[in-house]
């Protein structure tokens, strides 16, 4: 019990630090790829603290409830990962977090936020089924949704679930809101639909959004690391490799339309997922 409590506290403190550093690394790498020098690695923390010191401007009281909901669901799903609980519930909690984000944008009157929220819903439509298939794939392989069960296996999940691994890499781009799928809000193109879903957040509340993004990034990379848990450092290396791959794709790809995003993620992600799970059931016998 005490062990779990310590894990929770460490995860709550360390995850945003890692997430923030990764985002700083992202900005540096992106700048270098564009032939620029780029900001310091700890730039996201400067941005964060600056935003904390700014004036509160309330556009709608309701959006604050949703932003805290977004933070809470994201943190709880991260805790599900570090406490090695149920991966299916983790996927659902992540879905709730996404819905909170959308409702936060819908609770304001800004047409730009509404535009972003509609697109964010399409993003959820694109990635949520793939994450669900990942949970089902883990069940088909291990006979359990528990993440602790994944850690007990000697053979890494990557060997049997590699089609799902590709599918998860695909939706990582959507979830990190990177090109070609940065359609609801973009890290680089600040002028398009103003800022989409986060248009109406300012000052400390925008800082909260950034905090959630850091938690989210760590959570996603953690899910990718689950593909190789024995030893775990290989999984972490794979996750970092995936992160750098995303940065590369972000810088070489132009944005696609929302329709193409759903079409591609369903045709690649769902097909790979279904084939993967069907193959597992055929070879292992129906459970």
């Amino acid at each position: 019990m005490i062990d779990q409590l310590i894990t929770v506290i460490v995860a709550l403190i360390v995850a945003p630090l890692i997430g923030g550093l990764l985002f700083g690394f992202d900005r540096k790498i992106t700048a270098r790829l564009q032939g620029r020098y780029g900001p310091p690695i700890i730039q996201p923390f400067y941005d964060f603290f600056k935003l904390l010191g700014k004036q509160h401007i309330a556009v709608s009281k309701l959006q604050f409830i949703w932003i805290y909901g977004y933070l809470t669901f994201m943190v709880v799903s991260l805790l599900f990962l570090v406490l090695k609980l149920d991966i299916l519930l983790l996927v659902f909690l992540l879905g709730f977090a996404g819905v909170c984000f959308v409702l936060g944008a819908f609770s304001t009157k800004s047409p730009y936020a509404h535009f972003g929220a509609n697109r964010e819903l399409l993003q959820i439509l694109a990635y949520e089924p793939v994450l669900l298939f990942l949970a089902l794939g883990v069940y088909a392989q291990n006979g359990s949704f528990l993440i602790s069960e994944i850690f007990k296996q000697d053979k890494p999940l990557l060997f049997t679930l590699w089609p799902l691994f590709i599918a998860v890499l695909f939706i990582l781009t959507i979830k990190m809101r990177k090109s070609p799928f940065d359609i609801s809000t973009s890290h680089h193109a600040h002028q398009e639909i103003v800022r989409g879903t986060v248009t109406e957040y300012s000052g400390p509340y925008y800082a909260l959004i950034q905090l959630v993004e850091w938690y989210e990034l760590v959570l996603l990379l953690g899910i990718i690391a689950l593909f190789w848990t024995n030893p775990l450092w290989v999984g972490i290396l794979i996750a970092l490799g995936a992160f750098i791959l995303e940065l590369l794709i972000d810088n070489i790809a132009a944005r696609l339309t929302a329709r193409w995003m759903v079409r591609l993620s369903w045709s690649v992600g769902l097909v790979l997922g279904i084939i993967n799970i069907a193959y597992l059931y055929l070879t292992k016998g129906v459970a």
Binding site: F45, Y46, Q55, S202
Partner: protein, 145 residues
Amino acid sequence: MGLIEKSRIKSPWILHFDNSSCNGCDIEILACLTPLYDVERFGMVNMGNPKHADVLLITGPVNRRTARVLKNLYAQVPDPKIVIAVGTCASSGGVFHNCYNVLGGVDKVIPVDVYIPGCAARPEAIIDGVVLALQKLASLRGDKK
């Protein structure tokens, strides 16, 4: 100097607004973002959203139509904020100062903290002006009205 004050200097997010400029100064502002000058190394990011901005970079003389927009944008930027008038026209109205539709410089409508002269203002001058503004920003408090 506290953590927040230090961060304020390290991360000025810029909102660029063109009143009725000839676009000369606007091109120079965008030149600051290119690899040659790369202001992002100082944490400056060109924001499209006034609600996320700290520094208002304004070019061109204010005319009767843009005055309303400018006031609106100024009100939407959360405190603490800094206003920089870029170029001669934004500072004083420049060659347009007597036009029937021109009110004059930006300071006729909203308070200006830093004036950057030049026609067009050079990227070096713009970066210099923003750095000057940051020293002022550091001394401002979050609850300034």
